[in-house]
């Protein structure tokens, strides 16, 4: 599709991006993910499917999302022009809806009658509950008990949309534990149930499929930037938890070597704090979890660590396999952003642009704040503002002592 040396060709037929990816699942699930792959291959080239997805993207989600020049942030940082790709303006308030619409149409094609999903910050849970309401399918959302507590507004939204929210108390009660529990449900209800994974991770074909659904972000961005500035941006930034908004943003630029790509990982209390961060590429090593090989936070015995981030959406000890590949090949620079740096960026964006970003996206902005000042005034840096921060106002207020 893009030539033999393209970085955009992955995964191979075994679902590998170099060493990473694969299908590390229990036998019960194997026939199902092979079936899913076959359905996805057929859907991808079906004009009816693609037409419906396009129609929904336009009229339900509100695509294309704007590319916005952040004038005050630009003059404040004193370097490159700062642009925001406004995914937070999508219906449901984040990029997650792009993937959910693609997968729910697939679930319908496959004749599935029940949807399950995991969620960290609740953005994917809300987007899943939303499409399930629209398509009249019952859904169960698995969410770590810690996250249920720190993302209350999203829990309420899911419930109002008709979803059952199941708090998971195992482990630290965060995204990893929610994913374990979702997998247990799936293996039990494999005949009826579709597992709508929210990030570009998990067994093949999920990383590829979720990336494809999210690639609309980078494709639009490239065109919008060309129209605005008549060139490619010099740098593109996104936050990385599992990494769906990041891979969706980066993918269109992988074969444009002039465009620097930055992924902001959750540095938590700092990368040197043991089990105090969720930066799997900076602070982890390759391993196998949740259906794929990728960078993982783990101890010397191969037991998975819980990790920590102020942001529930980034609080995951792994990362999508394509990011692991792009990290090894050095096409993307992944850097940790601490909780405090993210909080600072959160406040700056809110006060200077009148946009309250999700704490996840604030990690990306913190990376912009590090890079932009050293770039020339005639250059540009674009951040994928992946979600809005309404869900975070209470926890940020607590951190800042405003409540």
């Amino acid at each position: 599709m893009d030539g033999i040396n393209s970085l955009r060709n992955g995964p191979d037929e075994d679902g590998r991006f170099g060493l990473y990816g694969g299908r590390f699942v229990a036998e019960t699930l194997m026939p199902l993910i092979l079936d899913l792959e076959a359905h996805y291959r057929a859907a991808k080239v079906d004009p009816d499917y693609l037409g419906e997805l396009k129609m929904l993207a336009t009229h339900y989600t509100g695509r294309p999302s704007p590319l916005y020049f952040a004038e005050r942030l630009t003059s404040h940082l004193g370097g490159a022009k700062v642009w925001l790709k406004r995914e937070e303006l999508n219906h449901t308030g984040s990029h997650k809806i792009n993937n959910c619409l693609g997968q729910i149409l697939l679930a319908k094609r496959m004749g599935k009658t029940r949807i399950i999903a995991e969620t960290g910050a609740g953005q994917h849970g809300v987007a899943t509950a939303t499409v399930c309401a629209k398509f009249d399918l019952p859904c169960t959302i698995f969410m770590g008990a810690t996250d249920v507590e720190r993302q209350k507004p999203n829990v309420l939204r899911m419930k109002m949309l008709g979803a059952e929210v199941r708090p998971v108390t195992a482990g630290a009660g965060t995204l990893k534990d929610a994913m374990n529990e979702a997998l247990r449900d799936w293996v039990t209800n494999v005949d009826t149930t579709y597992y709508l994974i929210g990030t570009a991770a998990g067994p093949h074909p999920y990383p590829e499929m979720v990336r494809d659904f999210q690639s609309v972000i980078g494709t639009e961005l490239k065109q919008q930037f060309q129209e605005a500035e008549g060139k490619l941006p010099e740098a593109v930034v996104a936050c990385v938890g599992g990494g769906s908004n990041a891979i969706g943003t980066f993918h269109a630029f992988l074969d444009d070597p002039s465009v620097k790509l930055y992924g902001a990982e959750a540095g938590g209390h700092g990368i040197d704090t043991e089990n105090g961060h969720a930066a799997s590429m900076t602070g982890g090593r390759p391993g196998v979890l949740h259906g794929n090989r990728t960078y993982l936070l783990q101890d010397s015995d191969g037991q998975i660590l819980e990790g920590h981030s102020i942001s529930a959406g980034l609080d995951y000890p792994g990362v999508g396999p394509e990011h692991a590949f792009l990290h090894d090949t050095k096409r993307v620079t992944y850097a940790p952003i601490t909780d405090n740096e993210a909080l600072e960026a959160f406040q700056l964006c809110t006060k200077m642009e009148g946009i309250i970003p999700a704490l996840e996206s604030a990690h990306g902005l913190a990376q912009v704040m590090k890079v932009a000042p050293a770039m020339g005034k005639d250059t540009s840096i674009v951040l994928c503002l992946s979600g809005r921060g309404d869900k975070d106002v209470e926890s940020v207020g607590n951190y800042l002592g405003l409540l």
Partner: protein
Amino acid sequence: MTSRIEKRFAEAKAAGRPAFVTYVMAGDPDLATSQAIMEALPQAGSDIIEFGMPFSDPMADGVAIQMGGQRALAGGMTLRGVLGMVEDFRRKDETTPIVLMGYYNPIYSFGVDKFLAAAKEAGVDGLIIVDLPPEEDEELCIPALKAGLNFIRLTTPTTDDKRLPAVLKNTSGFVYYVSMTGITGAAIKSRAAVGEAVARIKTHTDLPVAVGFGIKTAEDAEEIGKHADGIVVGTVLVDAVGKSLVDGKATDKTVAAVRDLVADIFAGVKRARG
């Protein structure tokens, strides 16, 4: 060369009953108690020991085995520790087959070749790795077979006749039929369906077929054992360990609780063929 596993299945068959496979979690709740439980299993009737390698994220396990794994990890068990326990066991028992069961990441982290050499050396006979389907055979299955270990595959109700040959291709020792779509410890929905599934698998292979997941009582073992070459019991044993603890610590009842339950279920195994 006949493996310990093949030999044991043949012996059970000659005795006119299915083989009795018992699963316990290595290091649960502590190393010494777990070693004593392991040693008590053959005396109580267990033919083959499935030894759980604890993992932080056991995606295919129900609450009982999750808790057992957590107790073992909290007690400091590691993959190296599991191999050490097998080594100790082998000093006293050279015939009971030991199959390590768990998830891939601790092995991958340890190093596949290094692990296989150490496992063989310690006296391990086979491996069951839940998250390695045939699609990932190059990872561990092929190297394990080359190292002289059996690689035992799970087949499930979702493994249809078309897929079954691929699943059985590199399976050795025995075939482990998972009695339902679900996690360990859930309930079997239909015993008749299990019998039909075992018969279906046997048209594809000469290997013994053992049935596990959801066998909790002597009666279950007796009924399922009418059709299966082996019966696997795990969750109830790990649960028995959990229930015997006081403040999370082993008591003088812990080993006996497991031994008595194994003996009780073994009576059902012996009744299976009348």
